[in-house]
Symmetry: C2
Subunit: 270 residues, 2 copies
Amino acid sequence: MDWKARLLVLDGLTPSMDEGGMLAWGTLADAPEDAELVFLGLDRSDGGEKACFACVPPEGDARPRMANPQLWSLMTALAPDQLALYGGARSLVDWHARHRFCAQCGGATRIAKGGWQRSCTQCGADHFPRTDPVTIMLVEHVRDGERKLLLGRGLGWPEGRFSALAGFVEPGETIEEGVAREVLEEVGIVVRDVRYILSQPWPFPSQLMIGCIGYTDQTEITLDETEMAEAHWYTRDDVIASLEGRDDAPMVSPPPHTIAHQLFRWWIAQ
Amino acid sequence: MDWKARLLVLDGLTPSMDEGGMLAWGTLADAPEDAELVFLGLDRSDGGEKACFACVPPEGDARPRMANPQLWSLMTALAPDQLALYGGARSLVDWHARHRFCAQCGGATRIAKGGWQRSCTQCGADHFPRTDPVTIMLVEHVRDGERKLLLGRGLGWPEGRFSALAGFVEPGETIEEGVAREVLEEVGIVVRDVRYILSQPWPFPSQLMIGCIGYTDQTEITLDETEMAEAHWYTRDDVIASLEGRDDAPMVSPPPHTIAHQLFRWWIAQ
């Protein structure tokens, strides 16, 4: 055997970075003796072959952990491949920490298949890491040749920060039906010709973000006030000003590592 | 109050049909007194307004229930809107039946928010119905102007039955990365220019099928024998013969209500 193993350095779910802006790694000896280890894959990037692991945090929290400001700035600093690796690892270890019991019978579960499964020690049911599909959508309206984009501010978001509408895909619907339902529910607007653009994993806790665009002839907004604080139409110039972070921008866009930011860039390039 | 309620007739997870080929409905009085009821939505199709419910089966099974031949023929007979309604209801009640306990602490959960949530009676954690994104992909190769499609037969499938490759999207990857990984794993082929085509919910138990196409210059297949029995290249004529159910077809295609069938139709129309 000529391989080495390494352990992703995590404080709970928060990563560490080395001086080069890369994720920090330790050795398997750094893991507590009874720790559950998740196999992340083989890294062949520097010639050798290293098995990469992450450690399941000792205790779970009832609520899925969201991104915090410290993590947000870490994410901005990480290269895309490092961010993807961290995101996958975070989703997995967080899922393990919150699934120590069997939803079927209430018995204790234990890690299996290198961390890509948990099995019930009582009834034998197998449980698999969860990924939730979420649609996030640009809603476009064209009048007199001018394209406008509908953006919203969720309840509790900072004043001035706007993004694309989004919501979980529900059982029994297609991606396109999910987009149409979500837009109708949140802003009372009927969209047509829904089209897929791009996707992105989002590890808070484990979403697959599915970016789409839909078109509408309506401009009047009927807000769902249990979800949204406000929603408005923005011109291409508005979106450009916001992406450039200009003082005269009418709103603040999501940061570059978000799919919403990528969708905005896609839209202004059309 | 001027509304009526109706209850989807289910034997476990199997629906009943009336003479018109529609899903059969009963009244709320048909539900056991202690039954958990899932609210499916309002039906306004015949002028009035009816609240539609389904009943969670009294006991769950550790394994997610797959489609059986009886259900398969029912599905073929149901109109698309009826199939969608049944699919959503089935996913939901099956999820409830298999999630009576809290994965976080092992305590008992109870149904909440009309069946779109379960809450732990012990630690208070909320749990939501699960939908698993699955990619299903056409792999195309063109030589001397002839387009060919790679189709596979899974382990345990009947002799002669072929379909598109498919697999769960894993934490940390995009739809396009999921497609590329799955094709590389199952048949050892590198695909490029992966593109989304269409999606479909699949309630066995609760997948969101995401249909894509990818292109390759490779023809040599390296089979993952732990998943696949065989895989071959088929011409447009082969696929047409199979969709028409002709005796000279080199393989049997999936039935019309599957996304694979729809993908085949899309491909021959290109």
